[in-house]
Amino acid sequence: MKKLHIIALVLVAASIVAIVLLSQDYTTYETFSTAKEKSGKDVKVVGNLVLDKPIEYDPKTNANLFTFYMKDKDNEVHKVIFRGAQPQDFRRSEQLVLTGKMQGNEFYSSNILMKCPSKYVDNEIKEVKEASLMPSK
């Protein structure tokens, strides 16, 4: 099976190249402070919604702009800007996983994953994407 072996080897070599190229797609989990060091790159930050700071969404002026504050695992609080509609029941969320970039002191989020406590049911996870990401092209 000589020729077949050559083809298999070529496939393996091509796969290794593809793995290296594709590995740039992966995001990493960070805190706000480490995200600052990687500003310009998309990262994920886990934290909780800060309820005593403004949670603003005014669909009449912009249906795709929603801002709030989040506290990360190191208790650092930053303003979050999300280009999309406010998810239903957002205030009830127990934990948030944001994907986005740190720019200055603000975190520009493109995706919100929220864990909602439910009275009886285990935590439910809900994902909300920024408007322009929803139908992926």
């Binding site: 020729k3 083809i7 796969s15 594709l22 249906a63 795709n64 439910s118």
Partner: protein, 836 residues
């Protein structure tokens, strides 16, 4: 051995519990498990016993115990059904997954919402298919059935719910609510059950007709992949390394047809019921069923090569074992909670993580070692395939499929790599593009192979009908060029296309071209060679279906268009680039908005049960026409969609459910992402005294008292002596010239202590509350109070997407599955004729 059964025997002072079904159910669970053990051991002994009489006796015992094992599974099913149907919420499963209001088809659905029910369904299919295996595998029965029995033991242990050496083994479906949640104080009270009036019900996302039919089909697919695996194992036991190939072919094709149907049904459900807009999201749960399917397809093709050329035995072993292993791996990924936050659907850890790891290890390590041990005994063949032979390209295709499956699995398993290597990686931001850009290459390669490989003969080239092949290529190229213009497949140079858009554009055009090539090549091959024998055409037909699906995927996914784009181009601030588009559109009630070829209007919202519907109408509109909408223009409705929102459980969050208009050549998908749920606000009341004909003014409207009527007709009021009333008829005219009629009334019942009862008029629509405070019969006047209600602005935020040619995906899937089932029948008849 220290086995503690997880149950509370006897009455212990709790009122109203019906413990009998639980005991029966647990008895069936234990019976099911031990009969699987007995059957497996008996089959095993019947293989190795020398004495003929004993052989027969063990064989009979094995068969009988397998039957009892299956009947016990049915017993578990029936008992659980009885518990759920009768709303016996003392049982955790019923309380957790069902409720009182549940119609029958959802009672069936709640069997597969929980892990216990899913394993049960999986085992039930193994039993039903196992009976077919028992009577069809003939000389192979003892070997195949003992392997299947072993699989049933492992799966059955997932239902035991016992503690062994301090470890929990399995989750018993008959666990009591008070045992499962023993920390809650309510369960200290003997009458606790009288407080548990209703269950949690089914996740609203699963309350969809697809969810009644999709899981059983998918699990039938899962279960049927076990059979090629079982045959591979049997051949090692039997040391008959080649005879299994013919036996396994009908199973292999059947399994791929059913699993494929299950996967595409899941896609149909996601498209109908989920709000993300599409049929495939590369979600781990979806990948979990796709990867085994791809490996199974590779395994089927190597089996076919072996049958025809006696080459490719090892690949057949490896791929068919791997297919089953990947099913188990998928179960592990989705059920163990290891995926954590990466999937919307992923299930939480129910404490069985270690058992799932053990299950995966049991089915992976010994089986491959067993195979490697036997390699030395297998027939060797050292003839190299010709490059222009059919088998050569089938092998290459199989390898490409495996690499494709590898790339999907690699990304799906990323959370697992984190656990093993202590890294912090996470899923790619744009998961669809991540998978699409690499899978596009595999799609193109596979489509080319399916186009020309059939034109090559096994072993030596058979150039018959090659003109048809070149003809197909020509037609495909011409048609592709035409479609490039029809669907504008080239990147739009006005939008500054980057590398990614060129890559996707060229990739999709190539894929479209080779998919059409494959479609025509397989169709013409079928017409030339197989039209007389429908049964022979299964393979070509399946390839035709696959090609049609690819065409549908390219056009509907690559050229899907969000038409609810925010044309106002609201400024998001300097940090956002110009490319950022907004897909959500704010829609005020009654105000029409132009979306591409449609004039879209949000008409009203209404409630039905716990669902809030939004009626959105579409009118075809020439987008070149001026948008100066004439107010008096008569509105035409071409179609109306009613997406809705529903609360998940009593305290759960709101879940959006889209609504889609299907045309033969496109779909219009509409989803409401948000709506205004504010209540109206009342201003301060104003008191006034009015006669008939008087008018009063409010901020938004003027109101005329038209007449006063004695004993007005009001629902549920029967006038009798001593009870009389008066109704005031008002006309409210607002600034937009809308008119509303308002009839507050005032009733006096002399027989009662609180003689006066007044029924105010209240309407957020009219923006007004009117209440009669007193009547003055002598002056023919009434005293009223009126209050403005500031209308909450009624609006929705919605998204609309047009998917062109999406029906080709469903059509292609149907053709592919039909081809697969024809093939199954052909391979079955083939074996029947040879009596093997």
């Amino acid at each position: 051995m220290n086995i503690l059964l997880l149950q509370n025997f006897g009455s212990n002072g709790f009122i109203g519990e019906d413990l009998i079904p639980g005991y029966i159910g647990k008895f069936f669970v234990v019976l099911m498990f031990f009969m699987a053990v007995l059957s497996t051991i008996s089959y095993f002994i019947s293989i190795y016993t020398k004495n003929e009489n004993e052989k027969g006796a063990w064989h009979n015992l094995a068969r009988i115990s397998f039957w009892i094992h299956g009947l016990a599974i049915l017993g578990i099913f029936s008992t659980l059904f009885f518990i759920i149907f009768n709303h016996k919420y003392e049982y955790y499963y019923a309380w957790r997954h069902s409720n009182n209001a549940m119609p029958l088809q959802y009672i069936i659905s709640c069997f597969w919402e929980g892990q216990e029910g899913s394993f049960l369904l999986w085992m039930l299919w193994h039993f039903i298919l196992g009976i077919i295996l028992m009577y069809s595998s003939k000389a192979w029965e003892k070997y195949t059935m003992s392997s299947l029995g072993f699989v049933q033991i492992i799966l059955g242990s997932m239902l035991l719910g016992i503690y062994l050496f301090g470890k929990k083994i399995g989750i018993n479906p008959f666990v009591l609510l008070r045992d499962e949640m023993s920390n809650a104080p309510i369960f200290q009270r003997p009458e606790y059950l009288s407080m548990v009036k209703d269950g949690n019900g089914l996740n609203v996302l699963l309350q969809n007709y697809w969810m009644t039919i999709h899981p059983p089909v998918l699990f039938l697919g899962f279960a049927s992949t076990t059979f090629p695996f079982v045959y591979a194992m049997a051949s090692l036991f039997k040391k008959d390394y080649t005879g299994w190939v013919s036996k396994v072919l009908p199973w292999s094709v059947f399994s791929l047809s059913v699993l494929g149907t299950g996967i595409i049904m899941g896609g149909a459900w996601a498209y109908e019921a989920l709000s993300f807009g599409g049929f495939w999201a590369w979600d781990p749960v979806e990948n979990a069923s796709l990867v085994p399917w791809i490996i199974g397809v590779a395994g089927l093709h190597t089996l076919l090569v072996y049958k025809n050329t006696k080459n490719g035995l090892h690949l057949s072993f490896v791929f068919n074992i791997l297919c089953f292993v990947m099913i188990i791996y998928s179960t592990f990924l989705t059920r163990s909670g290891v995926l954590g936050e990466s999937s919307v659907h992923s299930f939480t850890d129910e404490g069985l993580g270690w058992q799932l790891v053990a299950m995966l290890a049991i089915f992976t390590v010994p089986t491959f070692l067993f195979y490697i041990y036997h390699i030395r005994f297998m027939p060797k063949k050292n003839v190299e395939e010709e490059v222009n032979s059919r088998e050569f390209w089938m092998f290459v295709g199989a390898l490409v499929l495996i690499v494709s499956a590898f790339f999907i699995t690699k990304t799906t398993s990323i959370e697992l790599w984190n656990k093993i290597f202590d890294t912090k990686y996470s899923q790619p931001l744009d998961i669809k593009f991540h998978h699409n850009k690499i899978q596009l290459l595999f799609g193109i390669t596979i489509a080319i192979f399916t186009a020309f490989t059939q034109y090559l003969g096994y072993k030596k080239t058979n150039y018959k009908g090659m003109n048809w092949l070149w003809g197909s290529l020509g037609v495909a190229v011409i048609l592709t060029i035409a479609l490039i213009f029809v669907y504008e497949l080239l990147p739009d140079t006005k939008l500054n296309p980057n590398f990614a858009s060129y890559y996707l554009s060229i990739g999709n055009i190539l894929l479209l071209c080779v998919a059409l090539f494959s479609l025509f090549a397989n169709a013409s091959y079928l017409l030339q060679n197989q039209r007389k024998y429908l049964l022979q055409s299964g393979g070509s037909l399946a390839h035709v279906g696959f090609a049609i699906m690819l065409v549908g995927i390219v056009i509907s996914q690559y050229k899907q268009e969000v038409i609810s784009t925010n044309l106002e181009r609201i400024d998001y601030g300097k940090d956002f680039d110009a490319e950022t588009k907004a897909d959500n559109r704010l829609m005020f009630k009654g105000k029409s908005v132009l979306m591409k070829d449609y004039l879209v209007t949000y008409n009203k919202k209404y409630s039905e049960g716990d669902k809030t519907y939004f009626s959105v109408s579409y009118e075809k509109w020439d987008s070149k026409q001026s948008l100066e909408l004439n107010k008096n223009r008569e509105k035409k409705i071409d179609f109306e969609l009613n997406p809705f929102m529903q609360r998940n459980g009593k305290a759960g969050d709101l879940v959006a459910n889209p609504s889609t208009k299907h045309f033969w050549n496109k779909d219009v998908f509409t989803n409401v992402s948000s709506f205004n749920s504010d209540e109206g606000k009342e201003s301060t009341a104003v008191v006034d005294t009015l006669s008939v004909g008087d008018t009063f003014y409010t901020t938004n409207s003027y109101v005329v008292l038209d007449s006063l009527v004695g004993n007005p007709k009001i629902d549920s009021i029967v006038y009798s002596p001593g009870l009389f009333g008066i109704g005031a008829y008002f006309t409210i005219s607002d600034m937009d010239n809308n008119k509303y009629m308002a009839v507050p009334s005032y009733l006096i019942d002399v027989n009662q202590v609180n003689a006066v009862k007044n029924n105010p008029f209240y309407s957020t629509e009219a923006g007004m509350k009117i209440e009669i405070l007193n009547i003055m019969p002598e002056q023919r006047k009434i005293a009223i109070s009126h209050t403005d209600i500031i209308k909450p602005q009624d609006f929705i935020i919605m998204r609309a997407i047009v998917f062109p040619q999406i029906n080709l995906i469903w059509l292609g899937a149907i053709v592919m599955v039909f081809g697969g089932l024809l093939s199954t029948l052909k391979r079955y008849i083939e074996n029947k004729k040879l009596n093997i």
